[in-house]
């Protein structure tokens, strides 16, 4: 089986206009993946499925992943000469910028004809709020049918040209996308008597009392 870099070369040779990026996997599994751009994803997927060298005819898994917006702090250290003539000072400048988050779909492809795999491809949306459309790969691999419906249900990614895009696991009137990282469950707290509470009470009687913190002086 070809390596991921070789597959990328062939994809770019066949579709020069496409953007195919290699995403390395730093962990021990070393399963590197290819990030495809949404515009050409359908054609690239068809090529991967029908190319005689690859024959990736079996899409094993389609996963949705939520990458929320991340605040990144850049620290720039500059040396500023001391006007008084002493040693130069090092000034830190912190700028924060928000790396926009996205929703991602990861497909694991195998070949039943040639018995190799996995080849992992990824598709990312532009952002998490309004541009959440991605091309559906169900016309290429039918196994993505229910899995893309589930990703639509739980993450909110809209798959274009999916034959039957509706919620899979939650009821149709449900409004949220529960697997997103910023999903807040409805507040349904109920107090429960647990054995642990009684154990804690009994333990309190045996432990020494916690040290009293020193009295803080009230600041004017």
């Amino acid at each position: 089986m070809e390596t991921v870099e070789q597959i990328r070369e062939r994809l770019l040779a066949r579709f020069p206009a496409a953007h195919v990026t290699l995403v390395t996997n730093p962990g021990a599994a070393a399963e590197h993946s290819l990030l495809l751009d949404a515009a050409h994803a359908h054609d690239l997927a068809l090529f991967l499925r029908d190319d005689p060298a690859q024959r990736l005819d079996y899409c094993s898994n389609a996963t949705g992943v939520d990458w929320p917006d991340k605040e990144i702090t850049d620290v720039v250290k500059t040396t500023v000469p001391d006007p008084a003539g002493g040693p130069p000072k090092i000034v830190e400048q912190k700028t924060t910028h928000v790396q926009p988050g996205c929703l991602e779909v990861v497909y694991h492809l195998y070949s039943m004809a040639l018995k190799h795999g996995p080849v992992i491809i990824r598709l990312r949306t532009a952002n998490r709020s309004d541009q959440v459309a991605l091309p559906s790969l169900t016309p290429v691999w039918r196994s993505c049918d229910f899995q893309e419906r589930e990703i639509f249900d739980l993450y909110g990614i809209v798959f274009e040209r999916h034959p039957d895009l509706r919620r899979l696991l939650m009821w149709d009137e449900f409004k949220d996308h529960p697997m997103r990282k910023d999903y807040v469950e409805p507040d349904d707290y109920e107090w429960e008597p647990t054995a642990h509470g009684a154990v804690l009470e009994r333990a309190k009687a045996h432990l020494p009392p916690p040290p009293t913190p020193p009295a803080k002086e009230a600041k004017p």
Partner: protein, 222 residues
Amino acid sequence: MSDSAPSPAPAPFPAAGNISDADREELRRHGILMTSLEELYNWGRSNSIWPLQFGLACCAIEMIAAATARFDIARFGAEIFRPSPRQADLMIVSGTVTKKMAPLVVRLWNQMPEPKYCIAMGACAISGGPFKQGYNVLKGIDRFIPVDIYIPGCPPRPEALLNGLIQLQQKIKGEKLSGPDAARHTRPEEPSEFPIPAYGAHDLEPTKNPAVWSPPTPPPSA
């Protein structure tokens, strides 16, 4: 009839007047059966409980195992699992009740005719179980329907289910047909149908039935 003996005498069966159980046993040995309508009625009902064929999740497999030859629920009269709720009088809620499934469970409960009983089998049916912190998991079926017996376990062994069934049988045998604490099915003012929750935008509406269940309150801290 003779009075009860002064030292530890069995308590007289209330409906039989002043006749103690020892005397009844004595009579029975002579071939005379003394009983009451209530006892006979309850005995017949408790020894032929027909469960509804209603398995939700993993506990359902233990329920099926309880019906197989090794654990044999048939010796308790309950081997006929009815597929239709109209013919069943016990609903064993075995497995996690999700919010998507909850209206259907209540609908099935409503379709069962009185007298009917409910066993919450497994931690998930009692309180949500290991999946309690879930957006789709109902934290216990007793939020919407009245539950008679709770069987803890994950999953409870088939013997635990049989123990629960025996306790239900004892509960049925102790039911009264008249009086202030008569059984639920003899009192027409008690509801036998409960409102079915609807699917809301974020949760079920309502999330619980206050007439059936209220959350436990923490003890007043000293």
